[in-house]
Subunit: 594 residues, 2 copies
């Protein structure tokens, strides 16, 4: 596999030239003194070194070796322990954690770049710190001060890691029917019993303790999703002084053998009256879990983005080196026996598709990160409110669209390699296998689409779409004044109109057709994704034109924008036609006619 | 994984109700006495048993075990040896081989069904007999009578297997630059030297001998593809009496570790002055190899089809069993805690997409098989000529479109399983891994697209498209008379017009734009694929309406046809727009701007 090189120039371009995130930081009390462009640059340069030099070199070997399970214990691949220790010592496990507990407290727009680099380097490894960040955030938002003091400093320091224990054998998407129980003990703690499956990092040898966040039902719990409570259940019970005490009554029963992320332990966790403490209100565990979901879902989306970037880098290096066949006269190197395959239109099509989806994806994840930061930090309540709406709308798109296009990009990359893409030693097929899970976990992409179209768009009677449409319309009006990029502007406007049109149509049909939303949700989410990327590509192109004199590499950005409008955006035509068809053709078949 | 059940009803429907292949057989001297509907039914029923009971049950375990390489020897997974022996004894290795040499001599329309079943059961296993069939056909068409007598009876009986040795480390797509050498020996044989890679079944323990068909260059060979000769090079040299003699100077140097088809040995083969015999004319090895390509490429396409069918069956069973979430009021089972996920629109969308692509694919592969049979057997020269043209046009589509939609179907199937789709024990992720190679080998799908648009459509100045368009137009005109399926007929006509339009446009641009063909070829191939499926779906729907009274299960066929037109065919809108854009946006970037 080609050495990974973090796309630092493009990250800086997106952060500062396109989104000017430092201006937001200046207006946020908690960030103004801590963050500026230079600090951000220094942090990301360091992060790039971690990803390039520490994490990436182990990825291939760790995939081959996988984790080892032996009688309840999990051994991670060679080098993971040392690497995780270095990561922790560098403060990278607590990168988004509250500084009050020793975290770096980075804004999301910035930590999104770090996460992308880590995922490009090795998705499987990235899950250990990634899940820990999520658990930290959940505890920080919902746990009692005592629990926070007990857990967060250790977790932010990477001495303890975290998990999320939601899924049970019979209940994944539908958490309302979970069976795990929590019975009150006399000392204010609870006895947790039940089996959880698909628990990432449920057991491993990277840290001194593992802190499980577990969904379970109290004895008096109402049925369904309104009867689920959240508990913190450590693998080893901490003593009052913070030292480690007895082993808790929980164990890893087995690990899954999976298509990919072989170096990540996916565990069956058995809780046998394990001691746990309530986090937040009784029966309010699901909302507590969901407060972190916007962050986590963007994080899973970024796995797709990271893999796509890596796929592109590998395929590009291979395409430049591989001499095979002849290009058209103008591109032919007559002195050589054959030309680099980069001369062939179809190879260029695959590479540019990856490039357009990846750079578009980076802009998208950063944009969503900026909205998350505004929603959290902005001093102006109206700014926070608008950002909240944008986050609600765009989070499911980030999770699903970045991973769907991520898989597409890893497959294109593999295809560029020909037969070598199918052979393990090149690492390209690993990217396909490792990325595939991101479309499934943390809520399948189908569930994301339902969230977008059902809960968000139709649930708000279309209101939640408006800040998004206004931002795009404002941009279109602005560049129209300068009479620039007229063709692409018209294409964007047309796609926006189509989105507005089908949104109204679905909303109207939803009044009488119970099946409409789940019937067109995935295509609808993709439509929002392609329209968003069109907006972002045009916005990047306009900025690139302005900055090109100082940054000559931005010439490529303008060209890739043209490619996006010419060859990728047309996909919306198919999506719109399919959405307009509605639910009818999906409900003709009786069950026995499938 | 669900038990595999061969879709025998649908195969019979396609073969007899839709394509009436028996009528063709009656008009073919070589088939008239041998084949009729009853015989075909009996053969396919037996084939189904082989696939269901012999091959399918080993697939999962064989994937886990993989092949073992030890000092030049390859051990196949447990049970493969016994299964291959049974397959051979049943005549299934020589299923398409010439009866003169002991083969079954099945027409392709029929053997295509057998191949589909075998691929649904286990792609990796299917490659051992599959490659042997290809080698048999090549020898039968091009080798001397002496070589045929020496090799074909053993191969048709499955005692010896065959390989195709084309690719070298530096030369895959571009065979003109291979380096393997053939130097004449005094006895009329040749000494073959060189290294071949990616050789499927290059070494294994299933048969007494392995017959390699090797491309190499004679000392006086002209440069490029016109200087390549074909040789038969056995692993063990046969004695005059047919018994096995000395080991030839060739060996398996190593095997590839791959994403999938773990049970198939993908070998590096070293030829060190190995004894070989010329097949066909000197320097005419590539055309000889290509005469079998139309059969082989359809065969690889059928791997995608077989995997898609299996994926659909697995996902459907899982969807019916999995209780999760709630459907709309009309579909809700209030007595249960939750509903089967089959009630959800998005699950239905994934299942019906698989169903529409798979049944459409089966019709397509059978249609191409029928054309191959007509080209070979038809007594009327005009029929043969038209069929030849159809085969030339449709073969690259069959290879690429069946495998591209095959991968799509395996990914949908995996998604229906949620997290369980990512776990190896369910077998669903194996289908994704095993299918992926079919888009790459036997000429990548990008190469197939170049063949279609470059050599076939543009190379014939569009002439080769005409018999295809005429067949579709004739059908549209016919059903228009009866005023049936008006909406779908209009959609098909529109798609045909679009195909005709972009074909003319590309042809015209090709006069001045050297890059146009490779820039739009993949989208063009997909366009031809979707138009073909639209034709076939409408044709199947019309027949299904006629036969529904006797075969009530055909009601589903009519419904799936509606789904295809409503939700799949709209993809052509995106393809047409992308093709119309041409090559410009692909050639803006300098090499260093990627």
């Amino acid at each position: 596999m080609a050495d990974y090189r973090a796309p630092r120039d493009d990250m800086d371009f997106v952060l500062h030239d396109v989104f000017n995130v430092a201006a937001d930081w200046q207006q946020a009390a908690e960030l103004a003194e801590m963050m500026d462009v230079d600090t951000a640059t220094a942090i990301l340069d360091e992060a790039a070194k971690v990803a390039e030099n520490l994490v990436a070199p182990l990825s291939r070997q760790a995939d081959e070796q996988g984790i080892r399970f032996d009688n309840g214990d999990v051994t991670t691949p060679d080098g993971f322990k040392e690497n995780f220790k270095q990561l922790a010592e560098g403060g990278w496990v607590g990168v988004t954690a509250n500084p009050e507990f020793g975290g770096m407290g980075l804004p999301k727009a910035l930590s999104a770049q770090y996460e992308e680099m880590l995922c490009s380097a090795d998705i499987a490894f990235s899950l250990y710190p990634g899940l820990t960040s999520g658990a930290i955030m959940t505890l920080d938002l919902h746990a009692s001060e005592e629990l926070k003091q007990q857990y967060l400093p250790k977790m932010a320091a990477g001495e303890w890691t975290g998990t999320m224990c939601l899924t049970e054998p019979h209940a994944g998407t539908d958490l309302g029917i979970i069976k795990s129980k929590a019975v009150p003990n006399d000392d204010g703690s609870y006895a947790i019993s039940g089996t959880k499956i698909f628990i990432t990092g449920g057991e491993h040898d990277l840290a001194d303790n593992i802190v499980h966040l577990v969904l379970a039902k109290l004895p008096d719990a109402p049925a369904g999703t309104k009867g689920i409570s959240l508990f913190v259940v450590p693998k080893i019970l901490p003593n009052e002084d913070g030292s480690l005490g007895e082993r808790n009554a929980l164990s890893c029963g087995s690990v899954e053998h999976k298509m990919g992320i072989h170096a990540s332990a996916t565990c069956v966790m058995n809780f046998d009256g394990a001691k746990g403490w309530l986090v937040g209100e009784p029966h309010r565990g699901l909302p507590a879990m969901f407060t972190m979901m916007n962050y986590e879902r963007l994080g899973v989306g970024i796995q797709g983005l990271g893999a796509a970037e890596r796929s592109y880098q590998n395929a590009l290096e291979y395409a430049k080196d591989r001499i095979q066949g002849r290009g058209a006269k103008a591109t032919r190197n007559d002195a050589a026996e054959a030309d680099s395959i980069l001369v062939h239109g179809d190879v260029r099509r695959m590479l540019l598709t990856m490039k357009a989806l990846t750079e578009g994806g980076r802009a998208f994840s950063t944009w969503v990160g900026q909205q998350l930061d505004r929603a959290k930090y902005a001093s102006d309540a109206k700014v926070r409110e608008k950002a909240d709406a944008m986050v609600a709308l765009l989070t499911p798109v980030a999770k699903a669209f970045l991973t769907d296009t991520g898989l597409e990009s890893t497959i294109h990359g593999q295809q560029v390699f020909g037969g070598h893409g199918y052979v393990r030693e090149w690492g390209q097929e690993q990217l396909v296998r490792d990325t595939r899970i991101a479309q499934i976990y943390e809520g399948t992409n189908g569930i994301q689409a339902l969230d977008l179209l059902g809960r968000k768009v139709c649930g708000s009677q279309g209101q939640l779409l408006q800040p998004f449409m206004e931002e795009l319309s404002g941009f279109v009006a602005e560049i129209a004044q300068h009479n620039r990029w007229n063709t692409e502007r018209a294409q964007l406007q047309q796609a926006m109109d189509a989105l507005q049109g089908v949104s109204a149509e679905v909303l109207q049909k939803a009044g009488t057709d119970e099946n409409i939303i789940s019937s067109v949700a995935v295509e609808y989410l993709h439509l929002v994704g392609y329209v968003s990327y069109a907006y972002l590509w045009l916005r990047m192109a306009v900025v690139a034109e302005q900055r090109q004199a100082e940054k000559p590499y931005l010439a490529a950005k303008i060209k890739t924008a043209k490619f996006y409008f010419a060859r990728i955006l047309p996909r919306v035509h198919a999506l719109v036609a399919s959405i307009k068809d509605g639910s009818e053709s999906l409900y003709l078949h009786d069950d026995n006619e499938f």
